[in-house]
């Protein structure tokens, strides 16, 4: 399963090389053209077999950009202590509550490192409740001196969780499903039959630090519409007050209508939901207002690009161990493939 390799690969924003290599190996034989742009995005083109015209230019075949981001959240070394500890800051959105007790891989050598906190035995009364700020934490690689730490993990060294991928049965557990599961869906799309339009696949960089890769990828590919593939928040743990679970595991792909980064194109939402209903593919509408995806950059590229996001629900994203349902994954591949097969110039021509 490519999801396993993608999940275990390390690629914090700005350092996506290992993921890029995996992606290139997986898609190279299945596309007509592939290149790496100035920021490190992988841009692959799978030409269409049909004559679907672009609604903007009848001389041109319809172009669809499908994006999934390769980067993951992590930490970066910003200082070294006299006793050899590394001081770090977050790259992307890190929940500080998760850091005490983690095992990390540090730097290009994938050196193991850990984060510990003051032992429970030494806590003062008010400290048991307090979350240590990232600025107060230190990564310990076993170095004994400042000089040793500087040599082994220079300023700017990246680190992230060292989690192994695990199959739990109907679900799998691992790190970085946000958004390696999106990458896996996109790889599956590229490995299948061509569509009637030109499929521009962008495996983007730096989503977690502000949708940076997607914005230049969308500019370069100049698509007629865009679709971002994601792993998104599932919140189905028991709660004190009942409320929306954002998304739920096992209930199918989640279609975004609006999040913090964009309002989805109605026509594309309609295409997805009607396809799901026609083919009896389970789907859910993601609770509006939560999260942001590459669509947030794509939809405002050049003169504007109708965009939508489809996501595989994941419990515990941005944590060392997320969980997703393999059925949701398969249904996401199927829903996207079937919906895109039904896409016509008319879908986009009318409001």
């Amino acid at each position: 399963m490519i999801l396993k390799q993608l999940s275990e690969a390390i690629g914090v924003s700005g350092d996506e090389g290992e993921v890029r290599e995996l992606v290139l190996d997986a898609v190279r034989e299945h596309v007509d053209d592939v290149r790496i742009d100035a920021m490190g995005n992988v841009l692959a083109l799978k030409r269409g077999k049909g004559r679907l015209q672009s609604p903007r230019d009848s001389e041109r075949r319809l172009r669809v950009l499908v994006a999934a981001h390769m980067d993951e959240i992590g930490l970066m070394v910003v200082d070294h202590d006299k006793d050899g500890f590394l001081r770090v800051r977050p790259v992307g959105g890190i929940d500080a509550r998760l850091l005490p007790g983690v095992l990390l891989k540090v730097g290009p050598e994938r050196r193991p490192g850990v984060i510990g906190v003051k032992p429970i035995h030494l806590l003062k009364d008010d400290e048991q409740e307090k979350v240590a700020k990232i600025e107060e934490l230190a990564v310990d690689i076993g170095a004994k001196t400042k000089e040793e730490a500087q040599k082994l993990a220079p300023l700017g060294t990246y680190a992230t969780f060292a989690t192994r991928f695990r199959e739990l049965g109907p679900t799998v557990m691992g790190k970085a499903f946000d958004d390696r599961v999106g990458c896996a869906v996109l790889v599956e799309l590229l490995q299948g039959e061509p569509f009637r339009f030109d499929l521009h696949a962008a495996f983007t960089v730096q989503e977690e630090v502000g949708l940076r890769g997607a914005s230049v990828a969308a500019y370069a590919t100049d698509p007629d519409c865009g679709l971002a593939l994601e792993g998104t928040v599932a919140d189905d743990l028991p709660k004190e007050k009942e409320g929306s679970p954002t998304t739920e595991l096992g209930k199918g792909p989640a279609v975004t209508v609006m999040d913090r980064s964009f309002i989805a194109d109605k026509r594309l939402v309609q295409l997805l939901t009607s396809t799901a209903e026609k083919l009896d593919i389970p789907y859910q509408i993601k609770q509006p207002g939560i999260g942001g995806t590459d669509s947030g950059a794509i939809h405002k590229t050049r003169g504007g690009v109708p965009s939508v996001t489809v996501a595989v629900p994941c419990r515990y994203i941005h944590s060392p161990a997320a969980i997703l349902s393999l059925d949701d994954f398969k249904n996401t591949v199927r829903l996207v493939r079937e919906s895109l097969s039904r896409l016509t110039a008319r879908t986009l021509a009318t409001e």
Binding site: D81, D83, F85, D95, R97, L98, P100, G101, V102, L103, R111, P112, G113, V114, I115, G116, V117, K118, P119, I120, H121, L122, Q128, E129, K130, V131, A132, E136, A138, D140, I141, G142, A143, K144, E148, L152, T163, R166, L168, G169, P170, T171, M173, V233, D236, L237, P238, K239, T246, G250, I290, G291, R315, Y316, I317, H318, S319, P320, A321, I323
Partner: protein
């Protein structure tokens, strides 16, 4: 060995998997092995020096606890498990931890709470309370119901990792590192003459109140006791006075819990063998097996040797392997050098004979 011991499972009161591994490991090094009713493993290595023949040999008990902290299933809510601590588990470090749920079969899982994206900021700034922590094994509710019940144990799943400078990090090094110390010491004693009976004890239920050491010491009725445990390693955010640097040798404790004569002997041995050591002053309760051993029966002169360890009760407990080796050398040298009349030289007499068999020849 450290890897085996760290990764072995043995929560307080349920030490069997770790103990059974240890039983096999100790077998070649000891003359007798038994298990007491609380679950401690007791190995006897008889005095074997010519001076030992004739009258019964005095008994040295060395204790390292084999239990580890963990979690227990306290409720099942849909497919999610509610949890409570076994021993001093720390809810500050649980979130995101991989665990094994010991249900009808072992189930991998993760400790989770609701995502930060959907909870108010005040909640995110607080440590997640126990009633909002869950274990997710990734199975549907129907299957969870069949496989897991309230009261099932949950252990931390973490491989031992080697870092720079022969430092290792993993779970349960408190106190399996000292079980390793004790085992290495037994190994060193294979061809060594000693005048004292050595009672190696892997104690149970230390983390839930030093129970194993209490009953094992009663059963053994030792003349001298040495407890082995971890102590706080140097780490950011803790005053140096409260910590002991990694890699500078084991710590020998002083204070009311420890007999000055035995402490002095340990220091002499370390100096004679050129083993680096540190001195740890403990003004009161040591919170170790030494606390129980000292007041066993009519009282036992007791000492504590500790391996400095960072991040105690976290799955990243870290220590320097050299300190483990040094503690083992110190212990083996102590045993090899104990004169049959060491107690008398301290102005003490032997413990009256008693107890329940193993380790007793009189």
């Amino acid at each position: 060995m450290l890897r085996h011991l760290s990764e072995a499972i043995g929560l307080s009161g349920h030490e069997a998997p770790a103990r059974e591994w240890l039983r096999k490991t100790w077998e070649p090094f000891v003359d007798e092995l038994r298990q007491d009713s609380l679950g401690s493993l007791i190995g006897l290595k008889r005095a074997n020096s010519p001076e030992a023949s004739g009258r019964p040999s005095p008994k040295l008990m060395i204790a390292a606890h084999i239990d580890e902290i963990g979690l227990i299933v306290s409720g099942i809510d849909k497919e999610f498990l509610r949890i409570q601590p076994v021993g001093g588990s720390d809810n500050r470090i649980l979130l995101g931890n991989e665990v094994t749920v010991h249900g009808k079969r072992d189930l991998p899982g993760v400790v989770a709470t609701r995502p930060p994206h959907v909870v108010p900021k005040e909640e995110r700034d607080k440590v997640v309370p126990w009633d909002q922590l869950f274990v997710d094994v990734g199975l549907p509710a129907g299957q969870v119901e069949k496989l897991v019940k309230v009261g099932d144990l949950i252990s931390t799943r973490r491989e031992l990792t080697t870092l720079e400078n022969r430092r290792v990090a993993g779970k349960a090094l408190d106190d399996r590192a000292c079980v390793a110390v004790l085992t290495l010491a037994l190994e060193r004693l294979v061809d060594v003459r000693h005048e004292w009976d050595v009672l190696a004890v892997a104690t149970a239920q230390e983390e839930t109140g030093i129970k194993g050491a209490m009953t094992a010491a009663y059963g053994v009725a030792p003349d001298l006791g040495v407890a082995l445990d971890v102590t706080f390693g140097n780490q950011p955010g803790i005053p140096e006075a409260e910590t002991y640097p990694l890699g500078e040798g084991p710590a020998i404790a002083v204070g009311p819990n420890f007999h000055p004569g035995l402490v002095a002997r340990l220091r002499e041995v370390a100096e004679a063998e050129e083993i680096p050591f540190q001195v740890e002053a403990i003004p009161g309760r040591s919170g170790t097996d030494a606390w129980a051993i000292q007041v066993t029966r009519e009282g036992v002169p007791t000492a504590l040797v500790s391996v400095p360890c960072r991040y105690m009760h976290q799955p990243v407990e870290m220590l320097d392997v050299a300190d483990v080796e040094r503690a083992a050398r110190l212990l083996a040298a102590l045993i090899a050098g104990l004169e049959v009349d060491f107690l008398e030289s301290l102005g003490l007499s032997r413990a009256p004979r008693g107890g329940d068999g193993i380790g007793r020849q009189g």
